[in-house]
């Protein structure tokens, strides 16, 4: 049967070309697909199968085209010689495609495992991210809280008006706040660099030893009283509260102290007590003086009348007159102390009073070997509203006491100055022996004297105290850090507005 060869020829040749083109295009797509996700086993499989199909299409098409060409050109024998090779390659290629195709299921399973693993990995990653974020958030929150807490503690430490000290196990100062620096007068760096201990501030080493023993035994101390010695030698009365931190979170043992400066409070309490005592004594003295004053006046009057006439008892009467006059002076002083004396108040210039007193005393035998230094804060006048005679008496008393303290051979400084708060200060300093601690609190008591019997009545300072108080001022005393004592009078400055 004869049939047309054209369809076979055309379809064979064109189909072979189309097969090669399509196979190459498929391989290109498969490669691109694999490039999208190199870890995808199915895409890898598709690339393999496309490669197999390309090999199959090329080998087959080559064979078909060459066969048609050789047959049509009358070289059938040539085709016979190569057909076996072409057929073998063709057979191998589609066997290869078949084998690869059979691995699809395995490839799919592998891919599923990879995808499942990847999904688990992503889930774990997300969980980790979430945990990490939560952790970071928590760390941020805790850090903020810690910072805030640290800031509060730091503010308390720095802004506290009481001294706060952190010391190590050997009581060496590790931290001290600004109030502590003000209290002790030492430099912070010096304290830390020189490894100063808290004990160095104590005036009395035995007091420090007692406090050390107590805090080590009981792990705390509460409101222990002590005298601190400042860097400038001044004494400050303090209350100490402290505790032991035995250390946590790797910190070493340390001691924490809160030290309250109660120097002013104690002085005030002492002054109040003194004022109360003196007020009571004043009342008593006033009563006694009033009762004695009249009989003394009568005794003195009769004695003087009797002295006007000649008698054998003239010498005795003079002795009586002398001692009655002494008694009158004491009574007069007592009345002055208890405000019972006459009082003429007017604006007076303190500098003038002091200069007059110095002028008067410089000629006195007790002051011949005494070096008197006079300093005044400014050239301005220091007017106070008071009684010139009484104020002069106070200054004289202080000067005489100072001369006795320096044993009539030393230095006395008299200083006057005015503060911005309209307070006038008169300081009388000597470089004598100072006042014993136990005597200081009694120094303004009437009849208290440290002078030998018969040399002092013990009324000078108490009268002075009464006068200054009556003038609205304060008189205080302290031992100087170098040597000697310092009496300080504070009086309100006079101004017209205040006294209209």
């Amino acid at each position: 049967m004869t049939l047309s060869f054209i369809p076979i020829l055309l379809i064979d040749v064109l189909g072979s070309v189309a097969m090669v083109i399509l196979a190459l295009l498929s391989l290109y797509k498969a490669r691109k697909l694999r490039g999208m996700d190199p870890a995808n086993a199915v895409f890898l499989y598709l690339m393999w199968i496309s490669t197999g199909f390309t090999v199959f299409a090329v080998s087959r098409s080559f064979g078909h085209i060459v066969r048609q060409f050789l047959t049509l050109t009358g070289n059938g024998l040539a085709w016979q010689s190569i057909s076996a090779y072409s057929g073998s390659v063709n057979t191998a290629s589609f066997m290869l495609v078949g084998l690869i195709t059979l691995f699809f299921n395995q490839s799919w399973k592998i891919n599923e495992k990879i995808l499942s693993g990847r999904e688990k990995l992503e889930t774990a990653h997300l969980k980790l991210m979430d945990l990490n974020q939560t952790l970071e958030q928590k760390v941020v929150e805790r850090t903020e809280r810690l910072t805030s807490s640290e800031h509060k503690c730091r503010r308390i430490f720095e802004q506290s008006l009481d001294t706060i000290i952190v010391a190590d196990s050997g009581f060496k100062i590790q931290e001290i706040n600004a109030s502590g620096i003000e209290l002790t007068g030492y430099n912070r760096d010096a304290m830390i660099m020189e490894e100063m201990t808290l004990g160095r501030f104590f005036q009395d080493p035995q007091e420090w030893e007692r406090i050390c023993a107590k805090i080590n035994e009981e792990a705390y101390i509460l409101n222990e009283e002590a005298d601190f010695l400042r860097s400038d030698g001044k004494s400050v009365f303090v209350l100490i509260t402290g505790g032991v931190d035995y250390g946590a979170f790797g910190c070493a043992k340390s001691y924490h102290f809160i030290i309250k400066n109660v120097n002013d409070k104690r002085n005030m309490e002492r002054q109040i007590a003194q004022a109360d005592k003196l007020a009571a004594l004043g009342e008593l003295s006033a009563g006694v003086a009033h009762e004695i004053n009249n009989p003394l006046g009568i005794i003195l009057g009769y004695t003087q009348l009797m002295l006007k006439e000649q008698s054998d008892f003239e010498d005795d009467l003079k002795i009586i007159e002398k001692h009655v006059k002494n008694c009158k002076t004491v009574v007069s002083d007592l009345l002055a102390f208890s405000r019972k004396g006459s009082l003429e108040m007017q604006p007076v210039e303190m500098n003038k009073i002091i200069n007059d007193v110095i002028g008067f005393l410089s000629n006195h035998a007790d002051f011949r070997n005494v070096d008197i230094h006079r300093t005044s804060g400014s050239d301005a006048t220091f007017l106070v509203y008071g009684n010139e005679q009484e104020l002069g008496q106070v200054v004289i008393n202080l000067m005489i006491n100072a001369a006795h303290a320096v044993k009539h051979s030393g230095q006395i400084d008299i200083e006057t100055f005015k503060t911005e708060r309209d307070q006038i200060f008169i300081n009388v300093k000597d470089n004598g022996t100072g006042i014993r601690k136990k005597d200081i609190i009694k120094i303004f008591d009437p009849f208290f004297t440290t002078k030998p019997l018969g040399q002092g009545t013990g009324l000078g300072l108490s009268v002075g105290y009464g006068i200054i108080k009556r003038h609205g001022g304060i008189i205080t005393v302290r031992n100087r850090s170098s040597s000697g004592a310092e009496f300080s009078i504070k009086l309100p400055a006079y101004s017209e507005e205040n006294y209209i």
Partner: protein
């Protein structure tokens, strides 16, 4: 003797037993040796046909695997499945052609001229001649098969690119 040593000796004896027996046979009963087997006759066409059968089998497996895994929901895999179907048909076609002309020699094709060809059948069966003639136009099946494979891969690539773009946008 320790049990491990005994077990090791037994395993060694078992592995060496067959080679030792074969060596003994060769030495004791010598014969003529044929180094390699000869390949002749219809061995080539049988191999080729086996290849087609393997190709056909793999394509059928692929068709069912794609369905079994629910991949027909994706256009790309659907097209690959169609491609596999056409390749399966092409394999059947090729098997039939090779069976007719190379195995049972029922049909022979003789080129008369550039335009005509003579189809000779054993019993001059025009039906067989026509069937053979159409079966010879096998590119009608394998070209679409390759086209659908290309289209399937193109669709899968497009889907993957879209998914990738979406991921990047998110």
């Amino acid at each position: 003797m320790r049990p491990e040593t005994l077990h090791r000796a037994y395993a060694l004896g078992r592995h060496c037993c067959l080679p030792a027996a074969m060596t003994a046979m060769a030495v004791l009963f010598p014969e003529n040796g044929f180094a390699t087997q000869m390949h002749q006759g219809s061995e080539g066409i049988i191999t080729h046909q086996t290849g087609h059968l393997l190709f056909l089998f793999s394509m059928i497996v692929l068709i069912f695997t794609v369905t079994g895994k629910g991949l027909v929901r994706e256009k790309g895999w659907r097209l690959i499945q169609v491609s596999a179907f056409f390749f399966a048909l092409w394999n059947i076609d090729a098997l039939a052609v090779h069976f007719l002309d190379n195995q049972i020699y029922a049909v022979k094709l003789e080129l008369i001229s550039f335009t005509d060809v003579r189809v000779m059948t054993n019993e001059d069966s025009p039906f067989l001649a026509y069937v053979y003639y159409f079966l010879k136009l096998d590119h009608i099946l394998c070209v679409p098969a390759m086209f659908f494979l290309y289209r399937g891969l193109s669709c899968l690539l497009a889907d993957e690119q879209k998914a990738s773009e979406k991921e990047e946008t998110e």
